[in-house]
């Protein structure tokens, strides 16, 4: 049995004094609220705040990009829908006195086909307005071999047999041709596809940069926690426990940043939408509306923004978990191969 030379109570006074003080503090009327509610990973570190800010900025840019692609996609599809819902019939003026009859015959014929909702003939006034840029105001069309145009409106979601309509018109209405705007449609589709592809490429680059920045920022914020991980390891914490603590911490940090960034981007779109609505009757508003339609994010836009935010949150949490596991593996010298 080991013994302390000189006895056990070499300085009993000091010890008694200390313990008396402790008793007072530890009694039922304790002055301090002692609790273990503090996070094992410090909540308000400088690098943690910086990480939140970085994630907020990157989430904002990525969501802006996602929203922009969604708006362009929506606008391009709307152009395509509008173009594909109308076709035009042109009747050449071979028999000018009988033109009205020919127009009626063509209208009746086309309306027999499935999927056609309405046929509207351009009257002389409408035709004159169409030709105004070339012929000037109030041209006398009776003197000119101007063809008659019929606007054929297709029912929503229907796809009429344009080949059969064209054939029937050629057989039964002399001088009538059908223009289904295919050339326009194809050009528009190509343009829309290129716009979407370009936007998606930019989005992919922004997302890749965001992923890298979030991963490195998370690892940077983890660097200052190296000592904490080591202490937890030596006091017997399992790697799952330590990883869980850090994952929870970084989930909170990244949620704060990603939600802030996502909400800011939604506000930007809401602001632009408000601005275009406000300026609808003005030239600048009309130009913007003609180009982009409205800045309203559909459910796909909101869904994409939410998805980007969730991905960034998970990315940061998973990166922190992997970094902790990796550090603990490096501390477990007996599980490392030489």
């Amino acid at each position: 049995m080991v013994e302390l030379k000189g006895g056990w109570n070499a300085d009993p006074g000091a010890q008694a004094e200390k313990e008396a003080g402790s008793e007072e503090l530890l009694g039922s009327g304790s002055r301090y609220r002692l609790k273990s509610g503090s996070a094992i990973v410090p909540r308000e570190s400088v690098s943690g705040q910086a990480l939140s800010a970085v994630i907020a900025i990157m989430a904002f840019l990525a969501c802006l990009c996602v929203g922009a692609v969604a708006v362009v996609d929506e606008t391009a599809q709307s152009w395509q829908r509008q173009v594909s819902r109308e076709v035009t019939i042109q009747i050449k003026p071979f028999d000018k006195p009988q033109m009205d009859q020919t127009v009626r015959a063509a209208s009746r014929l086309v309306l027999e086909f499935e999927g056609i909702s309405r046929v509207t003939a351009f009257d002389d006034d409408s035709t004159a307005r169409l030709l105004e840029p070339w012929l000037g105001a109030n041209p006398d069309l009776s003197e000119l071999p101007v063809p008659r145009l019929l606007r054929v409106t297709v029912k929503d979601g229907a796809s009429p047999d344009f080949y059969a309509i064209r054939k029937a018109l050629e057989e039964k209405v002399p001088g009538a041709t059908l223009d289904d705007h295919r050339a326009w449609h194809e050009r528009l589709a190509r343009m829309a596809w290129m716009t979407i592809a370009f936007g998606s490429s930019i989005l992919a680059l922004v997302l890749a940069a965001t992923v890298l920045i979030v991963v490195f920022a998370t690892r940077g914020a983890m660097a200052e926690c190296h000592d904490i991980i080591e202490v937890l390891h030596f006091v017997g914490a399992t790697s799952g426990y330590v990883a869980g603590q850090f994952q929870r911490h970084f989930l909170l940090l990244s949620s704060r940043g990603a939600i802030a960034g996502g909400v800011m981007s939604v506000l930007v779109f809401a602001g632009l939408n408000f601005w275009t609505s406000w300026n609808r009757a003005r030239p600048e508003g009309d130009q913007i509306a003609a180009l982009f339609g409205s800045f309203t994010l559909g459910w796909r836009g909101y869904g994409s923004i939410a998805a980007v935010s969730v991905v960034l949150i998970l990315l940061s949490a998973i990166t922190s978990r992997m970094a902790v596991k990796s550090q603990i593996r490096s501390l477990e010298v007996y599980s490392r191969r030489r």
Partner: protein, 219 residues
């Protein structure tokens, strides 16, 4: 409890800093590990804590060859060891109370389970009135006692302390020594690394003396 057989350690391709160490630390024993600065005391302690792997030889803890212990068994094994680090390694964002409770917190115990134990132990090491304080405002001696209390809170089978009296004045060092002896009497195996001859002279205990990487034992 701890067994070293022909253990050698070198860092990288450098010279061997610990050579042919063979000794046993029996359960319930009390010993000092001493030697001049740079003799390899801290490295030897790190080998005992399984924080370093020897370049040769065999280390066994609690009857298990360290090489055969699986990573998932390590946390349970570490919980049987109470380490006191020379540089304390307290978490600066946690209060004294929370630092001491840390080993119990990571075991999933609730505060209701450990509150009394932690406050009692802090009172015992003379920090009853400092339990709400963060480590940066504690003195070196107070940090030392917090580190010791943290090592003891879960009643480890073995206490391994690296220079536990290095930052305290002689009366406090004597009080800490008395605490270690009391622990030992309660059944805890104690190993204290120190180069404080005055401290060692106060106790009749086994001495492991490291010199130039070799160990001599004085029972």
């Amino acid at each position: 409890m701890i067994r070293f057989e022909n253990v050698g350690l070198r860092y990288g391709l450098g010279p061997e800093i610990l050579s042919d160490l063979s000794f046993r630390v029996e359960a319930g024993s009390f010993q000092f590990l001493t030697g001049p600065s740079g003799a390899g005391k801290t490295s030897l302690l790190r080998l005992m804590l399984l924080a370093l792997k020897p370049t040769r030889g065999l280390i066994s803890l609690f009857g298990k060859d360290a090489n055969t212990i699986r990573p998932r068994q390590m946390p349970a094994l570490r919980r049987k060891i109470g380490p006191v680090f020379q540089e304390f390694r307290l978490l600066d964002h946690l209060t004294t109370y929370e630092n001491v409770a840390l080993p119990l917190m990571v075991r999933g115990k609730t505060e209701a389970d450990y509150r009394k134990d932690v406050t009692d132990l802090l009172g015992w090491v003379g920090l009853g009135d400092r339990m709400h304080v963060l480590p940066p405002v504690l003195s070196g001696g107070e940090k030392q006692r917090v580190a010791i209390a943290r090592a003891l809170i879960d009643q480890p089978s073995v206490l391994i302390a690296d220079e536990p009296t290095g930052n305290v004045d002689p009366p406090l060092a004597r009080r800490l020594l008395r605490l270690f002896i009391e622990l030992n009497r309660a059944g805890t195996t104690v190993l204290i690394a120190t180069h404080d001859l005055g401290l060692m002279d106060q106790v009749e205990a086994r001495r492991l003396v490291l010199n130039e990487g070799r160990l001599q034992i004085y029972d």
